[in-house]
């Protein structure tokens, strides 16, 4: 019963936030709507016994990623209204039609191909210990590769950010 109430309330918040992100012309409101969506998804993680993942979702997505997005939105173009006139013919109608068709397709496939849980399926334990147990044994190599990925990403971001626009036409570094 509690889960049903949580699902309805936060499901509505998630869909409303996502729709406001897509439809609102001002990207700042869009980012805040996406933040609401991410926080309600964190609630769903807690309900689905993913406690560590929910904390990571709040810290990394709702905290770090969306703050970075807000910084860049403030930097780039809040004052500039988006040109909403479409250059491709039929793009808008096609996009909406294909989106609805995609949703129907997912519904059809998902409704038919349903996996049955094994008889011994119990609620997984999503604590830090259990997740660390998996990451540092079965998933050790992917975990190490992510450290490499993060280093490459931070070095790449610094290299891109110090790009100097003065040297137009010259060799760029």
């Amino acid at each position: 019963m509690v889960e049903l109430v949580l699902f309805i309330v936060f499901g509505l918040i998630a869909v409303a936030g996502a729709l406001s992100m897509v439809l609102h012309p001002n990207p700042v409101y869009g980012a805040l709507g996406l933040m609401a969506t991410m926080l309600s998804i964190a609630v769903f993680y807690v309900v689905n016994s993913g406690h560590f993942i929910a904390a990571v979702q709040v810290v990394v997505y709702a905290g770090a990623v969306m703050t970075l997005f807000l910084f860049v939105i403030m930097l780039i173009g809040v004052d500039r209204a988006e040109n909403l006139e479409e250059r491709l013919p039929m793009q808008r109608q096609l996009a909406i039609g294909l989106g609805v068709a995609f949703l129907v397709l997912i519904g059809l496939i998902g409704g038919n191909a349903w996996i049955t849980a094994p008889a011994s399926a119990s609620e997984p334990n999503g604590s830090v210990e259990a997740i660390a147990d998996l990451i540092f044994t079965d998933w050790l190599l992917p975990f190490e590769v992510t450290t490499l990925l993060l280093i490459i990403a931070s070095v790449g971001a610094v290299a891109l950010a110090q790009f100097s626009p003065r040297r137009r036409g010259g060799a760029e570094e």
Binding site: F44, V56, F69, W114, A117, P124, I131, L149, G156
Partner: protein, 101 residues
């Protein structure tokens, strides 16, 4: 009424389609980027819901890795966007027709 994994999968599908629609409808590069994040979140939700359904923790580990990759992707993508904005003074993808800086 009991909330089963199918409900979460349906919600994830709806969020994914909204994200894909934002990708197709909007012309602001930042909003398109946020739509990608929304699609990643929708798929993460299905991972966690299915992981609970079959009683397996590996789904949550996969979500963890998706989050790491998404964070790295956001850092690089926003840096690219800022350096494009310095040259073009526009965040609309319609104005980006050439790769040359």
């Amino acid at each position: 009424m009991e909330v089963t994994a199918g409900w979460y999968l349906a919600l994830g599908a709806v969020l994914f389609v909204i994200g894909a629609g934002g990708m197709l409808l909007r012309r602001n590069a930042l909003v398109m980027f946020m739509s990608i994040e929304l699609m990643l979140n929708a798929v993460n939700l299905t991972f966690v819901a299915i992981g609970r359904h079959v009683g397996d923790l590996n789904g949550q580990v996969a979500v963890f890795f998706v989050m790491v990759v998404a964070a790295a992707e956001v850092v690089v993508g926003l840096a690219i966007m800022i350096s494009v904005f310095r040259r073009r003074a526009s965040a609309s993808v319609d104005d980006l027709a050439v790769l040359k800086g």
